[in-house]
Symmetry: C2
């Protein structure tokens, strides 16, 4: 269903993504269902454990994500008529036709799902989800549950690692939609980055669907689309101090000349197209002015043009928010920008100018943040894309879904690879806490 339609659906748990449906699975789940059905195993019951064997990113923890989507999936589990028609073509013609009638009636109403809370820190081999119910149905759920948990948990874990690297005083924004693994890869990334500790996303649909704060400024294309202040058709802004319209271009140009001397930056090297773009953006967003300052040269153009616009806005009663730097040596450029802001703040006695927000983007990964920390930087906010949303260091989590009991009897999968041998039997997992409220260990009991 579309996002619009889903708002009107009356079921308690709604499916966010139209492709999350019973056919989002491997064919072999259906062939197994048929073989079980043919073997008259429709009343057999089974227990499956969903768990992973190793923390991702060579790390020491994982954040469990995807549970809500699993519950939505179970709540809505039912094959549509067109699913059944398709399955008739996908399976061999020797299949008994009454099997399709059986499939059509299947729901997950007899399935019990036990799970750790979504967003919890979890560890290898402890079942994140235990699924009990009719053997055929719980087997049919396997692939979709794994799809929903694997990337969600990986993403939340990755985000949490970025948060640990950045510390609590830096804002983290997810900017990765364009590099994500497909449209929904991007949406999932936005959602689970937020669960993992990010502050917002650039992804509007994620904002609409999941109520995540959405942030953004402008692209280099916006800056390069302007050539000169003379081309601006809208030049004025209301002065909040007196309610009168005032020419923001003149004011900005005047400030640029003044600042050029203070900051020892040649006005002739600063881009007039960039100035025009920033003025036009300030007229559009006078209350929330954030400027991309690296289109031409941060030190020779961007910082001068930004400060000129910000001071002009200040004259009219508006506080600029800050700058974004999307290339170059981010430690150096952020420190240089901070120095400039402090200098301007002191020179004109505008204390808040010293604390303007500095946002850094450009292919940032966990190591970049640790390295910037070592170098000392003045960045208040990271916009993080590719490495975050594709989990570049390890793009898949290996959750598995293993049969541990059939009709009350434990089951095991042996393997020549010892790590792949399953723990048979229905288990409960407990987390033990010390008197100080800190958890000591997870224990599994049969």
């Amino acid at each position: 269903m579309s996002v619009d339609e889903s708002n009107n659906v009356k079921t308690r748990l709604q499916v966010h993504n139209c492709v999350v449906q019973p056919l989002l699975t491997d064919l072999y789940q259906i062939t197994m269902a048929y073989a079980y059905w043919k073997s008259e195993k429709t009343s057999d019951t089974a227990v499956f454990d969903l768990f992973f064997r190793q923390n991702p990113f060579q790390g020491e923890f994982t954040i469990f994500g995807g549970l809500e989507e699993c519950l939505r999936f179970l709540e809505n589990f039912s094959y549509s008529d067109s699913d059944i028609e398709y399955l008739k073509t996908a399976l061999p013609p020797t299949i008994e036709q009454s099997f399709f009638g059986y499939l059509k009636e299947l729901t997950a109403k007899d399935v019990k799902l036990y799970a750790i809370d979504e967003g919890s820190v979890v560890f290898p081999r402890v079942p994140l989800i235990r699924v009990e119910g009719p053997l055929i149905v719980v087997q049919l759920l396997e692939t979709t549950l794994l799809t929903l948990v694997n990337f969600s948990s990986l993403m939340a874990t990755n985000a949490a690692r970025y948060r640990m690297a950045a510390g609590d005083n830096v804002s983290l924004l997810e900017f990765g939609l364009r590099r994500a693994q497909g449209p929904d890869g991007g949406l999932s990334a936005s959602k689970y980055a937020y669960i993992g500790g990010f502050d917002g996303t650039s992804n509007l649909l994620a904002g609409k669907m999941f109520n995540i704060p959405v942030k953004g400024t402008h692209a280099h294309a916006y800056i390069t689309s302007f050539s000169n202040p003379s081309e601006l058709k809208t030049k004025t802004l209301i002065n909040l101090n007196n309610g009168k319209e005032q020419d923001l271009i003149d004011l900005t140009l005047s400030w640029r000349t003044t600042l050029s001397n203070l900051l020892h930056i040649s006005e002739s090297q600063a881009s007039d197209g960039e100035l025009a773009a920033l003025v036009s953006f300030a007229i559009a967003f006078p209350e929330g002015f954030v400027a991309l300052i690296d289109t031409y040269d941060v030190n020779k153009s961007g910082i001068l043009n930004f400060c000129a616009v910000a001071l002009a806005l200040n004259d009219l009663g508006y506080k600029a928010i800050g700058v974004r730097i999307d290339s170059g040596d981010l430690a150096y450029l952020s420190n240089k920008s901070r120095e400039t802001f402090i200098k301007v703040a002191n020179e004109y006695n505008i204390p808040w100018f010293a604390n303007l927000t500095i946002i850094a983007s450009n292919d940032i990964n966990e190591e970049t943040i640790w390295s910037l920390n070592d170098q000392k930087h003045s960045i208040d906010c990271f916009g993080i894309g590719t490495h975050l949303v594709t989990c570049q260091r390890q793009p898949a989590l290996g959750c598995v879904y293993k049969l541990v009991e059939v009709n009350g009897t434990p089951r095991i999968k042996l393997s020549q690879d010892g790590s792949k041998i399953t723990m048979p039997g229905k288990k409960d997992a407990f987390r033990l806490y010390g008197a100080d409220g800190i958890n000591i260990q997870d224990s599994i009991f049969l």
Copy 2:
């Protein structure tokens, strides 16, 4: 829209995935649109190039994917009422309300899109897509077009590399849904792996939506859910030679004893649960019997049980298809299996038995295939999951969308990083072919 609903939609190009919609974009596209609108740039025109700077996987080529989805997106580009309502909350309250009326009317009808054919081999810096039209609209398309092209092209390229490694005589199946980056990551992977040269997928929804051949057998859980042949309620199969029902268990057990001597495999070490599972699966799929043979031990159990069932099926007039091996030393186990098949074929004069299909899976990547080639193997088909669908070696392609012209005037983005400087101006790309029909080079002309 849902898959079902999309079948009923009358538009020529339909959106496959409900999340591909104008809000699947970065907020800054909308803030830029407002700033352009506020600057009275609604009649400005622009040209953007969509291209990448480097082939993925340290390779020498890229396969272009995603064009069809881009066209669908353009065809359907329109903000819904609820999109507009959401945008009113996502943008600052100072936004002039008439901007939302302007947005509501926007379509991509004045946009021209030039592109290289989908599925083509493409190279760095040559525009894959050139988009011309109203500045505001073509800017608004950026993120979604990049999202649709980046992963599609990466995936098709990755698949093509697996095809080159495997050669033309080996079948390649995509098995990665459960490890993909979200539900749609899995769907995109199935689709673009097929475009890149795979033969099929395990993903049923991909089969239904894109008409891709779907393949699959059963999981280890199917095997471990059986304990003993005595538990089988359905034991018989029709003998195609005489039309009579015959007990497949008895026949299989008898063959197992016979084969045990021929193959020097102790019957007592072979799993009876595995035998029961394989017999039940053969009864369900007598015409398409493929068996997973590594649940317990390929050499001590799986191969013996499989051959016993396959020979029993043969007695009743059915030809088994083959085996899947999902763990262990795939070169050794496949060669050992092939030797066994040849031995059985010769012993009982069943020539086709020597050519039974051997499918290998288990965390296979491009290097595994090259290494198996070096070791010599007997694998006919690879089932490939995680590494293929998440493009583990490089999980993102870096396509960019750069402004190259505004109102007929070329535009450039400078950068301290020389590789990031754009080529200004509207360009045409030509591929030059030699007399032998082989392409010599791509050329770009202004």
